[in-house]
């Protein structure tokens, strides 16, 4: 039987996971897209080629939408620590709250301050200043990522604190140790690459879509389409393999500091040398075994220790009440890795086509690229599920339990707000997605104009493919 407080805790967790899971999509999108826009504007200033300006103006419309969704969903997060995890905030606030404040002061203000100039100032300030504004926004997104990951990584591998015996609070001793905690560099690199990769696949899919559309009417695609597709495929070919290396390093680091998380990700119960790797299986937390296992001998030791007889931990080494729910992260981890392989494959394939001079004339490849549009975001979410669920049952690893972090909020309030969050998020972010698809369903033009209210209607109405952006059922005319 679940009691009301148990259910309230479950809802608090679910609510947090839902809202942060939605939020993370937009920052990742903004981080990648802002950098892409800075590159495009820089190229335009350097080469003077119209195509870069066209692409800049094309993607900045998507950016303005994505960024605004990032802002509003982030605002929710900054209050949710207190609403849902008040005990956690009281105890860890002296550390995580300070890091969040630094994020606001070094990143959010920077982004917000220059966003206006970036979106509306093209004709009000000089080109150099406008480029500077774009760069400030892009740098702001990267700084923001840095602080929030420092905070999250500190919760995974806490350092540089003492616990006040009277209140149980975490007192900061050494801020450098807090920020540069052992998992931070790995998480930072991995998340940064994830953001770039996610956006590369969205840009690539948009390019591929328009290549396919042009081909269907027997035309050659315009220059901006080809340029964006080519740029995106370079990113895929370079960043996807880097991400696999970064992920490998991240995993080794986690093995060192959170071995039980690795055991749960791998579905391993016994500690062994010369361990095999499970390709598939269903970990069972009750019987302490993994059913239907499909194994590759020795691979487990090879991946995790880079040697054939290295020791790999098993969950049975850890007390039951300290094991994360293996079935969830066993799968989320595998989905992430499988998508990484696919992305790298697409990258190599593009290199091969490029050498043959067939990058813009291979419809099968373009179809694959269209399908890969959400791949980066799915991998990214699976990565976060692995990280966060794998941290359970702790909020501050090994020190503060999730069940002891929660706010004294009654179940009925939690249930009401949970429903409200789901309804509002589906309406708002669902509509945002539809608007985004409609925008991207229209090919970039030569001499792409700004989206003024006067143009907005025809910007959206023309060149829209019904398959990708019809009116949503139950809404519209």
């Amino acid at each position: 039987m679940q009691t009301a407080p148990d259910l309230a805790l479950l809802l608090a967790r679910f609510q947090f996971a839902f809202t942060v899971g939605v939020h993370i999509i937009f920052p990742a999108f903004s981080i990648g897209l802002a950098a892409y826009l800075a590159v495009l504007e820089g190229l335009w200033l350097k080469t003077g080629r119209q195509v870069f300006l066209d692409l800049y103006r094309y993607w900045i419309k998507a950016f303005s939408i994505v960024f605004s969704m990032g802002v509003v969903s982030g605002l929710v997060m900054s209050y949710e620590f207190g609403t849902n995890w008040s005990v956690f905030s009281k105890k860890a606030g002296p550390i995580t709250g300070v890091l969040l404040s630094y994020e606001v002061m070094t990143a959010f203000f920077l982004e917000a301050g220059f966003l206006g100039v970036m979106l509306f100032g093209m004709n009000k300030v000089g080109r150099g200043l406008h480029f500077a504004a774009t760069c400030c926004v892009s740098v702001g997104t990267l700084i923001s990522m840095t602080w929030i990951l420092a905070s999250n990584s500190w919760m995974q591998t806490p350092r540089g604190y003492t616990i006040d015996p009277a209140t149980g609070r975490f007192m900061p001793d050494d801020w450098l140790a807090i920020i540069f905690n052992p998992s931070f560099p790995f998480r930072l690199v991995h998340m940064g690459l994830a953001a770039f990769l996610s956006v590369a696949f969205v840009v690539g899919a948009t390019g591929a879509w328009h290549l396919l559309k042009a081909r269907r009417v027997g035309a050659t695609a315009r220059e901006p389409v080809r340029v964006m597709f080519s740029m995106a495929m370079w990113m895929a070919a370079i960043v996807a393999p880097l991400q696999i290396l970064a992920g490998d390093a991240h995993g080794l680091n986690t093995l060192k500091y959170q071995p039980v998380k690795i055991a749960a990700m791998e579905g391993d119960w016994e500690t062994e040398g010369r361990a095999s790797e499970l390709l598939f299986g269903i970990p069972n937390m009750k019987t302490e075994r993994t059913d239907y296992a499909v194994k590759v001998p020795l691979l487990g030791s090879l991946i995790l220790t880079h040697s054939l007889d290295g020791k790999v931990p098993g969950m049975k080494d850890f007390p039951r009440d300290q094991r994360p729910p293996s079935p969830v992260i066993f799968f989320s981890f595998r989905i992430m890795v499988a998508l990484a392989m696919l992305m790298a494959l697409v990258g190599f394939w593009s290199l091969w086509l490029r050498r043959k001079g067939a990058l813009f004339t291979s419809p099968f490849f373009h179809r694959v690229a269209v399908c890969m549009a959400p791949a980066g975001f799915i991998a990214l979410l699976c990565g976060w599920v692995t990280t966060e669920v794998g941290r359970q049952p702790w909020t501050v690893y090994g020190l503060l339990r999730t069940s002891e972090s929660v706010s004294p909020i009654v179940l009925s309030s939690m249930a009401v707000t949970m429903t409200a969050f789901v309804v509002v998020y589906v309406i708002v972010f669902g509509s945002g997605l539809v608007i985004l698809l409609r925008l991207l369903g229209r090919a970039p033009e030569e001499g792409e104009h700004n989206a003024s209210p006067a143009h907005a209607a025809d910007v959206l109405a023309t060149h829209t493919h019904p398959g990708i952006a019809g009116p949503i059922p139950g809404e519209g005319a």
Partner: protein, 339 residues
């Protein structure tokens, strides 16, 4: 010399009140403009209203993020009791701000489709509900929350009283006044003329609100009354009503004589007076009526580290914020385009 642990919370309280004041003023006129959508139906003029704030609203809202983050890092005890206590109005406010925030882009991007109406209403209702929730939370803080052993122990609806609802309505009225006077300053023609009319009515409404809240507040807790009437505090408190009336007269004159900036500045003055009055009332409590600033503070090592960064960063932030306002200065007309 008193020690660090005594002074740091005081310094931080001042910074926090300053951040909240800046937020209230800046996002106040954004939210006010959203509410004024209810009075202005013409699409061209609505676009002008939005265009006066589109480049700056995100920065304005960031002051609220700062307020939350400072509370979390510097006064975690207050963050951890106030947020659960006001759980429902806070979530309501956040959801309303979601609609308000995305509507800037979405109403343009859905122009000409049936969905445009959703985002016009979203902008208006989102602004109104957010303003109301903020007022209710403010009222709720003044009337106090139930705390035992540093934890919130009241009910889910404790905040809902006639007093907090009055504060909610007063804040709505006040924000709408800020919005109307902002538009008087930043627009021309028909829109400016309508705003002068609305501003006059809103000023009357806000004045009534200020009077009502001021008379009611000292009745809530005995210490509040003493704080106002004790010598020498009365020296500071007594001029406040006089100033409120003087500013009101200036505001009315500015509106009638066609000044463009005076009405906005007078409205700002009102907000400034009200917030300092509240500050004096609640001092030195962070969570009335039981937790003081020192009860809810994080350790000096946290407060000091954050203070160093703030001392360096806040001036920089103010500089580029002023710069970005200057880029978009001057009257906005229907000829000014979007991105």
């Amino acid at each position: 010399m008193m020690d660090f642990a005594y002074w740091l919370p005081i310094v931080w309280a001042v910074i926090l009140v300053a951040a909240i004041t800046i937020y209230v003023i800046l996002d106040g006129f954004d939210l006010g403009i959203g509410m004024l959508f209810a009075l202005e139906r013409n699409q061209g003029r609505r676009d002008v209203m939005v265009n006066t704030i589109a480049p700056v609203w995100d920065g304005n809202e960031t002051w609220m993020v700062l307020g939350g983050a400072v509370l979390y890092g510097v006064f975690p005890g207050a963050y951890a009791t106030l947020l659960p206590a006001f759980y429902l109005p806070i979530v309501l406010m956040l959801l309303a701000l979601i609609f308000r925030g995305v509507s800037f882009e979405f109403r343009i991007m859905t122009r000409g489709t049936a969905r445009e109406a959703l985002w016009e209403v979203g902008f208006m209702a989102g602004s109104g509900i957010a303003a109301f929730s903020q007022g209710v939370i403010l009222g709720g803080v003044i009337q106090g929350i139930a705390v035992t052993n540093g934890e919130f122990t009241g009910g889910a609806l404790d905040w809902l009283t006639p007093f907090s609802v009055l504060c909610g309505l007063a804040v709505m009225c006040g924000y709408a006044l800020l919005g109307a006077t902002w538009l008087v300053w930043r627009t021309t023609g028909v829109l400016e003329a309508s705003c002068r009319k609305w501003a006059a009515w809103l000023a009357i409404g806000l004045f009534a609100g200020i009077v009502a809240v001021s008379l009611w507040t000292p009745l809530l807790h005995a210490p509040y009354l003493r704080r106002w009437t004790d010598w020498p505090n009365i020296l500071f408190v007594a001029p406040v009503p006089v100033l409120v009336v003087v500013l009101g007269a200036l505001l009315a004159m500015g509106l009638r004589r066609g000044h463009s900036r005076v009405p906005f500045l007078c409205a700002l003055g009102w907000f400034f007076l009200c917030l300092s009055g509240l500050g004096i009332t609640v001092w030195p409590y962070a969570v009335p009526p039981s937790l003081t600033l020192w009860d809810v503070s994080s350790p000096p090592s946290s407060q000091f580290f954050q203070l160093v960064g703030t001392a360096i960063l806040l001036p920089i932030i103010l500089t580029y914020t002023i710069y970005s306002y200057r880029v978009f200065r001057g009257k906005v007309t229907e000829a000014d385009g979007y991105h």
